[in-house]
């Protein structure tokens, strides 16, 4: 269990006064301060970590966000930004002395421009909400996290979220054009716009994936793309992880980049099939979902080439989706994978390391061994094209110590990912969950460098300060004001 930093006693003591101050800044229904009603805000998609915040505010405009941030800045109150609260790394976990600023009321689409292929939306619009708003014209917003139904674009920016189709279309960072942000001091700033590559430092890139530590996002301008003529998925099953892994190498090595290239191991196949009834082969050890796009002839051409590339690895079955419904079912299984595991196990921990794709067979073998050693089951979902691995560790939170056990298992997996040349998190963010593991991937010098960048935006460390960086020696006091410690 990762510890939270101690709350500031003076803030807790001034709670009534702070709440009274906030009350003046947002509409009445947008301030939540009764303990009972704060409770559902104590956690996010990682419910093992819980902390009731000081208060929750639900602003409706950028001006209200700015007023709340300026107020908190003036009063030294910590702030935790929140979107839909689907973070799997505890990114939106509150602190006892923090105000949670939830942007779910800012859910309006502000502008859609098909000619310039961009849309401007408020931060609380859901990821799928953007696609839904433009799909009638044949467009879509590309990054598609499995949580796209619920997660919000502000949260996507916070985590630089990815999805199954990012192999071709890129992650959130690659699909943004502009942001409206509010700094901790309450300054409203426009970054980028509807044009490409603003001059100056790449604030857009730095903000993306900054986990709510640098500034709050209230509006986002995204690229929208014209949907392809069609898409079709193919299921290729193998009798060993190794052969599936080699087939992936063969496909990419041949110069074909499918739009999606997803891998599931046996436990994942079984869990997803039970939920989606997509006809996944239950006798397989490893399953690849490969999707290609284009006209029917182009799809046929690519699927034919891919099938030929898989042939030398003797797939035990190979099935091309025959209809739109079948493709939907295939993706429903994959996108509902985490929840599907929730059906077979009361609780799960979703890991999110990335590994060099060539290391997959080795890493899966090691995970299998660890699974035996820990006595915890694990199902593996893998974005095979880009190396992002999601081992889902199954446990039972009602058994004392079981969560800690699962957490230790997860930490071992992530260390392994770093050892083989990968990283701790591919798309879910560090949050609170992987905070202490940052030392495995970065040197202290590197961590300090990142911390100093945070200080440049938020000198008093009030914005989501308990995330991402190891708490020990968290330089909250070491870095007062704007005076940069001179590292030498």
């Amino acid at each position: 269990m990762i510890a939270q930093p101690p709350p500031k006693a003076d803030i807790i003591a001034r709670r009534p006064e702070i709440i009274a101050g906030l009350r003046a800044l947002v509409p009445a229904s947008g301030l939540i301060s009764e303990e009972l009603r704060l409770k559902p805000y104590e956690t996010d998609g990682l419910p093992a970590y819980r902390q009731i915040p000081l208060a929750v505010v639900l602003p409706e405009t950028t001006e209200q966000v700015a007023a709340v941030l300026a107020f908190c800045h003036k009063n030294g109150v910590r702030v935790v930004p929140r979107g839909a609260g689907t973070s799997l790394s505890g990114g939106a976990l509150p602190m006892a002395d923090s105000v949670v600023i939830g942007l779910m009321r800012m859910n309006r689409i502000l502008d859609i421009d098909y000619g310039d292929r961009c849309a401007t939306v408020q931060a609380g619009v859901t990821n799928i909400g953007i696609t839904n708003a433009v799909s009638a014209e044949g467009f879509f917003y590309a990054p598609d996290p499995s949580s796209q139904l619920a997660c919000m674009i502000g949260g996507n920016v916070g985590m630089n979220s990815g999805g199954a189709h990012c192999l071709k279309y890129g992650v959130t960072a690659n699909n943004l054009l502009g942001l409206k942000i509010v700094t901790m001091e309450g300054d409203v700033l426009d970054i980028g716009g509807a044009h490409l590559d603003a001059a100056g430092y790449d604030w857009l890139g730095l903000m993306t994936g900054s986990e709510g530590m640098l500034a709050m996002v209230t509006e986002v301008t995204v690229r929208i793309l014209r949907a392809p003529e069609g898409a079709r998925a193919m299921l290729v099953a193998f009798d060993a992880n190794e052969t599936a892994g080699r087939a992936v190498d063969a496909i990419i090595g041949s110069g074909i980049i499918p739009v999606a290239l997803e891998f599931m191991d046996r436990p994942a196949i079984h869990a997803c099939e039970a939920f989606a009834h997509a006809g996944y082969p239950l006798d397989a050890e490893a399953l690849l979902i490969i999707e290609v796009e284009g006209s029917v002839a182009e799809q046929d051409d690519l699927l034919g080439r891919i099938a030929a590339l898989c042939e030398p690895f003797h797939p035990i079955s190979l099935r091309v989706s025959q209809s739109a419904e079948e493709s939907i079912a295939i993706w429903k299984g994959r996108k509902g994978a985490f929840g599907a595991v929730g059906r077979i196990s009361p609780d799960y921990l979703c890991m999110d390391g990335t590994i060099p794709t060539g290391q997959l067979p080795f890493v899966l073998r090691r995970i299998g061994e660890m699974s035996d050693a820990y006595g915890l089951k694990v199902a593996n979902i893998f974005h095979a094209g880009d190396g992002n691995l999601h081992p889902l560790i199954m446990f039972d939170a009602n058994l004392a110590g079981n969560f800690e056990h699962a957490e230790a298992f997860g930490a071992d997996i992530l260390k392994l990912c770093v050892e083989v040349g990968g990283c701790l998190t591919g798309e879910h963010g560090v949050g609170v969950e992987k905070r202490e593991l940052m030392r495995v991937q970065f040197t202290d010098i590197e961590l300090d460098q990142q911390r100093r960048i945070k200080s440049a935006f938020d000198p008093d460390w009030l914005l989501n300060p308990s995330k991402v960086f190891p708490l020990v020696d968290m330089p909250v006091t070491a870095m007062p004001g704007t005076a940069m410690p001179v590292a030498a």
């Binding site: 009603r37 609260g85 939830g102 009321r105 059906r343 009602n398």
Partner: protein, 440 residues
């Protein structure tokens, strides 16, 4: 998700089953986005995940329900969109039903709310009383200006008056207990739940159902002793009256099942259908005999469209060239997961079927919701009507009387089965657009 119940708490079957539901929830938050109240209010407390959390806390603590919890649970429409969305298979319906009962048992509502709920509970399930009440509302309509808005009570009275139809159709004897013989060779035998409020508001729905079925060779029984399904009181958390209604129905149908036999128990008000399909669960801890009978009834229960889809429905009239916006009632699409059959039947009947955007969002009717939460219900109605209007339909088809009442006022709203009956030789439904030349 982790739960904290003592073994004593878990000895209670309701708590045990709620614990099971809570354990299935992984707190992923997928369900928030499709919840109508979250979409409107933008507060996690008014989302399924927030409610689940509030309920969890309430049940775990064992303390009486508080005003805050009640406020957010009351705002739930029981539309069950969250269940359609949930990838983990969380049975929110059972959880919220339990919570409502818990609230009813441990929380004292303000007097005007109690009164309102008592009146609804008394009147709605009883057709005779309901008829009188609606007539009374008609009388009251002219004096509504005298009732101030702005107070909780005043607003609700307005909501009731707004919803009361200006005119009631004559009652129909086809709905009273009897057996309607099949035309030609009998191909099946079914019971039809005639319902309560529906028999008063729109007897034409039952009439159309019976005509259509008998014409297709199905014998239709209106079983003696069967009345309100119990959903109304069940959703208000009133255990005993709900169970009493259900028990009467189970008894009535069991007589038929054990007598001449039944192939199905048909429900043409999907709100009721969801409840009848849940009798098995409601009676799970009753004596074995009842539990078995309830289970059997639930297994036979079908929405009218589900059953019709198994028959050879063919229109006999020429296609009228009408654009029909299909409004999926929540109880049908989420509660019973009946998705395709009504649309397929309407297409087969010769209509052009269009599907409005945000089809998963509730229209705000939700049983008595539009009476007890008029503000949210009103906003949902507007939103639904706007989405429907965007499809430029001639008609709206829906399979639930609640939705029909809620959405009426502009484009005609007609029960799916009435449209199907019309195309197969029945009379033209009341309320067709004037411009439609009724084909002979």
């Amino acid at each position: 998700m982790q739960t904290n119940f003592s073994s004593e708490q878990l000895a209670d079957p309701n708590t045990a089953s709620s614990n099971q539901v809570l354990r299935t929830c992984v707190h992923c938050g997928f369900c928030t986005a499709t919840c109508p109240t979250f979409v409107l209010l933008g507060d996690e407390l008014d989302s399924p995940r927030g409610r689940i959390y509030l309920i969890k806390d309430m049940l775990e603590s064992g303390r009486p329900a508080t005003e805050e919890v009640v406020r957010h649970v009351d705002r739930c429409l029981s539309c069950l969109a969250c269940m359609t969305t949930c990838p983990s298979g969380v049975n929110y319906m059972h959880l919220v039903d339990h919570a409502r009962e818990y609230i009813e048992n441990t929380y004292t509502r303000p007097w005007h709310e109690r009164m309102l709920r008592n009146v609804l509970q008394l009147v709605l399930p009883r057709p005779a009383l309901f008829r009188m009440a609606v007539l009374g509302a008609r009388v009251a309509r002219p004096v509504r200006r005298l009732i101030p808005r702005g107070s909780v009570l005043g607003d609700r009275v307005h909501a009731m008056l707004d919803l009361a139809p200006a005119r009631l159709p004559p009652s129909s004897d086809m709905q009273s207990p009897q057996v309607h013989k099949a035309e030609g060779t009998r191909r099946g035998r079914v019971a039809l739940l005639a319902g309560c409020a529906q028999t008063v508001l729109a007897p034409s729905i039952n009439e159309a159902t019976i005509r259509l079925l008998t014409r297709l060779g199905i014998e239709v029984v209106i079983a003696r002793g069967v009345g309100c399904c119990g959903a109304l009181t069940h959703h208000m958390g009133r255990h005993d009256p709900a169970m009493a209604s259900a028990r009467a129905n189970i008894a009535g149908w069991t007589r038929e099942i054990e007598g001449d036999g039944l192939d199905a128990i048909l429900v043409n008000t999907s709100g009721c259908g969801t409840t009848v399909k849940d009798y098995g669960f409601m009676f799970r801890s009753e004596p074995a005999e009842w539990a078995m009978q309830a289970e059997r009834v639930s297994a036979l229960a079908m929405d009218i469209s589900e059953y019709l889809a198994t028959l050879d429905y063919v229109p006999t009239r020429e296609a009228p060239g009408l654009r029909v916006a299909y409004h999926a009632a929540c109880s049908l699409q989420h509660g019973q997961r009946v998705l395709t059959q009504p649309k397929a039947l309407l297409r087969r009947a010769g209509f052009t079927v269009v599907e409005p955007l945000e089809g998963h969002l509730c229209c705000g009717s939700a049983g008595t919701y539009n009476l007890v939460q008029p503000e949210i219900a009103g906003r949902l109605r507007e939103r639904k009507l706007a989405n429907i209007a965007a499809t430029k339909p001639d008609l709206i088809a829906a399979g639930n009387i609640g939705c029909i009442t809620q959405l009426s006022g502009g484009v005609p709203v007609i029960h799916t089965v009435e449209l199907l009956d019309w195309m197969a030789g029945g009379p033209a439904p009341v309320g067709l657009p004037a411009a439609v030349a009724v084909p002979a």
